[in-house]
Amino acid sequence: MTSVSEGFPRGTSRQGGLRPGGGTRPMQWSQLFCPGTLAVLPADSWLYPAAGVSAMIAKLAKTCTLRISPQKLNFILSDKVASGGVSMWCELEQENFFREFQMEGVSAENNAIYLELMSENLSRALKTAQNARALKIKLTNKHFPCLTVSIELLSVSSSSRIVTHDIPVKVIPRKLWKDLQEPTVPVSDVSIYLPVLRTMKSIVEKMKNISNHLIIEANLSGELNLKIETELVCVTTHFKDLGNPPSASEDASRDRDPEQMAEVHIDIRKLLQFLAGQQVNPTKAVCNIVSNKIVHFDLLHEDVSLQYFIPAFS
């Protein structure tokens, strides 16, 4: 792979990443090298989770935030709409994906880079990499700050083909970082494993035609219900025998009646948006309900963890 021998500047200054305001500043390079392989990468290859996540995010929101830190890569969606925003927190451990990973943040205490970009761009760039022999991601400044994704494609002929995507990014200043931190997982009343997401999606899709107001409820006996109620009709779908993960708080779960449902009223469109993006069934999928407050979905796709929060109707 030709990119390995390429030199690149490391930590040319104490300043990390890019400072907002543009202009010519010393650039920090963060280079992420991905393992090379001479085989055609199938859909469930190492790259798929990252490409799949970015494709899913592209369906959820136009822009997303990418947080780069020494151990992790995070995709963050933060909706600041006052009436009840939805937010998503997605995490990848960089060592599971990249052969080489170097970055340097603003300072030792604030060792992270926050970038805002168009999710569609990243999704398209990673989609090209489905048949990649090698992939390299760099922070560059080509007239404007960019995340440059360079992909060496597999080619039947002797010469290689190289695709380069320059994704314009906006560097998020440190003062805004506080709004982009990992949301605290709420103490839930009920924690339950989700049914097959595709099934759930087709049901929710049909329900959306009847009402925008969905009630999601579950108990500690492995039962989950999706309900919509209108003047003319009530429709409920019952899922049984789903199983409940072992509770974090033993006391709370022992006190709770296993049959008692915890429910949240949510906007069905937000749930559908989330389900529509799930192409593949995750390794693990848990739903945590805080009565009348919030629904928290906790998914694990291979080595990518995904958390999605839907607040109750206010």
């Binding site: 083909r161 695709v163 320059d166 314009p168």
Partner: protein
């Protein structure tokens, strides 16, 4: 005119119509001695496309009834495309396609003979028209590259479907580079577009004759029209080009047909962009006007009944924004099918006419320029020129 297409060729014909529909809204159908030609031009006159199907492509081909002049016509692309709308259905169920013009009907009749005895007849209204022909000679272009359509198809895959323009050039190390072209945005534009670049080694090309650093920018959407045809027919696609600003010629051919798409390219204004080793191209003044460029000599040519569409070269008041020109002269055919006028062609092919006096052209255009011997028979008066002249 009467021709019969059978078997897999029906789908090929349908695919060609789909390609042409990416360019223009009107289809010019002209049966010639060396085959049936389907041509179109776009509304801004910056793209011209032509498919010529040789007589052997058809099970039966009769350009004109014996003793009669060949009829030619212009139909709405939408109407003709509707016949071949679903290529999957065409492939699955159509056994024969018969196209006829003239005779009893004052319509262009397209009859599809399908499985189970089903017959679909389309009667399309048409307008008589002059011959739409372009003058271009790939042999005069200094740069050419040729590759299997599959290679070029893979090359454009990373680009977003909505991307309007792309720059094709030769980069360092004889690599062929395709890069998304963005118009210059306002300085304060907060939403910058993603730039995608694809670099292919020369080994993937069957022919590459071009200098390093040369590059042209053209409309990707229009190019995709020919590319998808070439991919489905598994043909090689050749690109002939010159300096930026001169039209680029994209061609496919096999023993039964050939296709040419002639697209305008952006003219350059400054030279930098080290990565591509090529000029950075700036926005072209849109759209090209439909004024035509008369070379008065041409009216003395034999086939005066053909009219001209020319894409002009104008010097924009701001300076060097030259619009590329394709001059269409009467009676001249593309060199791929040398006809009796080929000797005349060589002198005029590829000439860049000067800015025409529009009024003068119009007055010539609207008048009767038909030599009586060549006037097409037919009940409908020739009305096409008016709308063409207004552009």
């Amino acid at each position: 005119m009467k021709c019969l297409v059978t078997g897999g060729n029906v789908k090929v014909l349908g695919k060609a119509v789909h390609s042409l529909s990416r360019i223009g809204d009107e289809l010019y159908l002209e049966p010639l001695e060396d085959g049936l030609s389907l041509r179109t031009v776009n509304s801004s006159r910056s793209a011209y496309a032509c498919f010529l199907f040789a007589p052997l492509f058809f099970q039966q081909y009769q350009a004109a009834a014996p003793g009669q002049e060949a009829l030619r016509c212009k139909i709405l692309m939408k109407s003709f495309l509707a016949v071949f709308r679903s290529l999957a259905t065409v492939e699955r169920s159509v056994e024969k396609c018969c196209i006829s013009l003239g005779g009893r009907s004052s319509r262009l009749v397209v009859q599809l003979h399908c499985k189970y005895g089903v017959r679909k007849t389309h009667n399309l209204s048409f307008q008589d028209c002059e011959s739409l022909q372009a003058v271009f000679d790939p042999a005069l272009c200094s740069n050419v590259l040729r590759a299997p359509a599959r290679v070029l198809g893979e090359a454009v895959l990373p680009f977003p479907p909505a991307l309007a323009e792309v720059t094709l050039g030769i980069g360092c190390g004889r690599r062929v580079i395709l890069r998304s072209y963005q118009e210059e945005e306002e300085a304060d534009s907060t939403v910058k577009a993603m730039v995608t670049e694809m670099s292919i080694g020369q080994e993937d090309f069957q022919q590459l004759q071009a200098q390093e650093g040369v590059a042209i920018t053209f409309c990707l959407k229009e190019f995709r029209g020919l590319l998808s045809f070439a991919e489905s027919a598994n043909l090689s696609l050749s690109v002939y080009f010159d300096a930026p600003g001169r039209p680029a010629i994209f061609a496919v051919s096999d023993s039964l047909l050939d296709g040419h798409f002639v697209l305008a390219t952006l003219s350059e204004s400054d030279l930098h962009s080290p990565a591509l080793c090529s000029p950075e191209l700036r926005r072209l003044a849109p759209p090209l006007q439909a004024h035509s460029t008369p070379h008065l000599d041409d009216f003395a040519n034999d086939d005066i009944d053909s009219y001209m569409i020319a894409m002009e070269t104008t010097a924009d008041s701001e300076g060097s924004r030259a619009v590329p020109s394709i001059s269409l002269f009467p009676g001249l055919r593309p060199p791929c099918s040398p006809g009796p006028y080929s000797e005349d062609n060589e002198a005029e092919a590829g000439t860049q006419p000067e800015t025409p006096p529009p009024k003068k052209f119009r007055s010539l255009f609207f008048g009767s320029i038909l030599a009586p011997a060549h006037s097409p028979p037919g009940p409908s008066p020739v009305l096409a020129e008016d709308s063409e002249g207004e552009g």
